[in-house]
């Protein structure tokens, strides 16, 4: 945390090496997020570069009161939203027909629920999850990736999206249950 603040301070003073350290630190995290959102390695690499360039040019507007990582991912998230908009893809609606299709879903456990994950080996389960991840709405996919791949806390995710923690938690659970439903379809 403090290291990031120090690095941004030095970058603003024109120290090239300081920003290089920031790039090295966050490049993989950003690529994993952007890659899962656009689903294409070349495009993801290009977008990751663009996000770093954008963040460098607006570094003066970074408020050190907040975490640098959340600020950086906010830029990345907005960049991806713009990309969806330009491609005329609705990135925000939960367009999947599902019982999870609202903000206050019923998290009631069914007594006849079947075990899906147990049917697969761990490596196979990972592959199935990756496939299912591509099918869930981008707004839920984004939160799932932040939580489980980028390992953000719910507080950090709420800070990035500017929405209450409770809503973020519900949406992450929705994402996981949607993926589970899709795994069931795949069996």
């Amino acid at each position: 945390m403090d290291e990031d603040k120090e690095l941004t301070k030095r970058s603003l003073k024109g120290e090239k090496e300081a920003f290089e350290m920031i790039v090295r630190k966050y490049q993989q995290q950003l690529l994993n997020y952007i890659g899962r959102m656009v689903g294409n390695q070349e495009l993801a690499l290009d977008f990751t570069q663009e996000v770093f360039i954008k963040s460098y040019s607006s570094l003066y507007s970074y408020n050190p009161q907040y975490k640098f990582s959340t600020w950086l991912f906010k830029i990345a998230s907005n960049y991806i939203i713009d990309y969806w908009r330009k491609k005329k893809i609705d990135a925000f609606s939960l367009d999947q027909k599902s019982k999870w299709n609202n903000d206050k879903p019923s998290f009631q456990l069914q007594s006849d629920e079947s075990s899906i994950c147990e049917r697969f080996e761990m490596s196979e389960l990972r592959k199935k999850i990756e496939k299912a991840l591509e099918k869930i709405p981008p707004s839920l996919r984004e939160l799932f990736v932040w939580r489980h791949i980028n390992e953000f806390s719910y507080e950090e995710m709420a800070e990035i999206k500017g929405i209450p923690i409770g809503t973020i938690k519900n949406r992450v659970f929705q994402a996981k249950e949607l993926i589970r439903e899709l795994l069931e379809d795949a069996t």
Partner: protein
């Protein structure tokens, strides 16, 4: 305790609950097979989700980003080196030419001077002519636009606003028609 809700299961597995809440859930799990099975299922899902393969950046990625942010600038030192090398090359070529052609240095310098003088004289004549032509063109354009403005001004004073609108609309339609005809003629020409 009633059966667990799915969000409770996730909060429990992710360690987001208080010790008291955890304890009551564990007590319930020890006696409820349905919830135990559901917890096991979500635990597997979480384990797999947390260990998804990572995408790796290429080895030169950082360098690519840094080059795009800070493009390489040519330093003054390297610029001076290039200039010195260029001058030396010209000098060497000149010396080699003198040695091969067996020409007198004084004669060569005189002919070079005359060639340069002719070039400067011809170029200055060309520039003067071009300047005269450009100033004449500007004068014509200015006079023509002044004439157009005056004509338009007198038209607006003579004609009523309604008639002006009709006239402008008619002119626009006529221009569009002419453009259309020209385009059509050109296309027909291309086809034939």
């Amino acid at each position: 305790m009633n059966c667990l809700r799915i969000n409770q299961i996730y909060l429990y597995l992710e360690g987001e609950l208080s010790p008291a809440e955890n304890k009551s859930i564990e007590e319930h799990l020890s006696s409820c097979l349905i919830c135990k099975k559901a917890v096991k299922e979500r635990k597997l899902l979480l384990q797999a989700s947390r260990s998804l393969p990572l995408w790796n950046t290429p080895p030169d990625f950082t360098q690519q980003v840094m080059t795009r942010i800070f493009p390489e600038k040519v330093s003054l030192r390297s610029l001076l080196i290039v200039m010195a090398a260029g001058s030396s090359l010209i000098f060497l070529t000149f010396l080699t030419y003198l040695l091969i052609s067996d020409q007198n240095l004084a004669d060569f310098l005189i002919s070079l001077g005359q060639t340069l003088l002719n070039l400067v004289r011809n170029l200055s004549i060309l520039f003067v002519k071009l300047y005269k032509l450009a100033s004449l063109l500007v004068k014509i354009i200015l006079q023509f636009s002044e004439f157009l403005l005056k004509g338009f001004d007198s038209l607006t004073t003579i004609l009523s606003p309604e008639l002006q609108i009709i006239l402008i609309t008619f002119t626009l339609i006529l221009s569009a028609f002419i453009l259309f005809r020209v385009k059509k003629t050109l296309l027909t020409g291309e086809r034939s």
